[in-house]
Point group: C2
């Protein structure tokens, strides 16, 4: 039986907790989340548990990364069951602030990125990465963890966070883990809870289309043709795709040629009123 | 005779130096500058000298805070004499990176502010405060000084830096000192070096107009009228004013009423090809 995690509500308490651990010579890992925890999040917690002495998970549905017509209000909020799951994994602290703690009146600072933040998600969610970069910076600066864990499911977000940490020399190592999937291939996401039973049956076809397109690209031939085929397959399956794109896996730049570079295939597609994203290595 | 300061060229060396001081329990103060040091800068160094155990001055003409038509190329660069002045004051370290160290290829992160960064300078130098906030954050995160010194001469910049440090909870106290002036009232500025002898004789009339306008506002009556008179006085003296404005001294918001709040009078005006700024408490 693990001790329940201490529940922190303020950045001041977050910093005091981690500073106290650091003063004892203990290493600290942070898992930033928006709650509604699934096994993808828990894999991040377990890996942090293996790597550091003290683990703090953060739960904050960050308003600044949602557009005005997006699902901020509908986003699932399940703090009690989230904390129970984190307790089971022996997490020492949960930082769950409210919006006024993170953005008090007069808050005026935004961190935005070019580079990996350009294109893909940005074409459809123009304010998303400024919201993410700002809140992640505030969390990392709030606790100065030695490591922070992110999933590859949000691949562009991962690269944006890595670039920000590098540019600002934040003293935290960003650790990424592969996407956790259901048995049928669907990438775990808190937004999967929005899917109707019918949509849930269709949803794995996003991962399947990525796999088929990646296999076709690997086998050679015209990349643009393969991407068009994949896009058409998504439409035929009932998705409304925002994009299906092949990018350099480290910079997200458009690859001039397919040879000699790590590549990533990334997609975003609507299924009814739910927007799913996924990506795989090529 | 003081030991000459150690000259640091990389953020890695800056952090190693300050971390080593902190590990010995010593406090660290930083004075961020663009070089071309004058007595205003040196007053900041001397005050830091009194407050902390180790002082690091930074010298970096930050390209991102200059607009395309501004004086980045012409800005005075006098590193050797700057370092000699800092040596005289017993500064332990000078951080003088080149642009590639601060903005390596692929650098993608910008920190921008609303709040105190809106209006005044922003109306004429739209990218200025994003450049300032980003470079100051990089310097503070590069060295994690306990205090950092700024002059009130760049009053809006001071408030922008304070707001950013507050919003991001950077673990550095911002310490401000009053503007240092020539005997005739002209605020010290590295850009005063641009003035012709004729312009130099006119330049103190900027501070004089601020003083006269502040006195008029204090004596009562219509603020807008007093501001118009001050603006006209600047034009009559040969300036081309960008603005002369009365603002709340803490937020830079437009004051709805003059009573019951700290106020600041701020001005920017061109004299020939030189843009001067100044401000005073009301």
């Amino acid at each position: 039986m693990n001790r329940p995690p201490v529940l922190l509500r303020t950045l001041t308490d977050l910093r005091a907790n981690t500073a106290s651990w650091h003063s004892e010579g203990l290493t600290v890992g942070m898992i930033p989340t928006m709650g509604a925890l699934h096994d993808g999040h828990l894999a991040l917690v377990e890996e942090a548990r293996r790597r550091v002495d003290r683990v703090v998970a953060t739960i904050f549905v960050n308003p600044t990364q949602f557009g005005p017509k997006e699902d901020f209000t509908a986003y699932p909020r399940t703090e009690n069951s989230d904390v129970a799951k984190l307790a089971t994994l022996g997490v020492e602290a949960v930082f769950a602030p409210n919006a006024a703690e993170m953005y008090p009146p007069g808050h005026a600072t935004t961190i935005s990125l070019a580079g990996p933040a350009l294109g893909l998600e940005t074409d459809y969610r123009p304010h998303f990465f400024a919201g993410v970069a700002t809140v992640v910076a505030k969390l990392l600066l709030g606790g100065f963890p030695d490591i922070a864990m992110f999933g590859e499911k949000d691949y562009q977000q991962l690269l944006v966070v890595r670039q920000m940490v590098k540019d600002l020399r934040l003293p935290t190592e960003i650790v990424a883990l592969p996407t956790v999937r259901e048995a049928d291939g669907l990438a775990l996401s808190s937004r999967n809870a929005y899917l109707s039973p019918d949509e849930r049956r269709t949803a794995p076809k996003l991962a399947a289309a990525l796999e088929a397109t990646a296999a076709a690209i690997r086998s050679g031939g015209d990349v643009a043709h393969h991407l068009r085929q994949g896009f058409n397959a998504l439409e035929a399956a009932g998705f409304r795709p925002d994009y299906l794109e092949l990018r350099n896996a480290e910079t997200l730049a458009q690859p001039a040629a397919v040879a000699d570079q790590p590549l990533r295939l990334l997609a975003a597609a609507w299924l009814g009123r739910t927007r799913l994203i996924d990506n795989i290595a090529v």
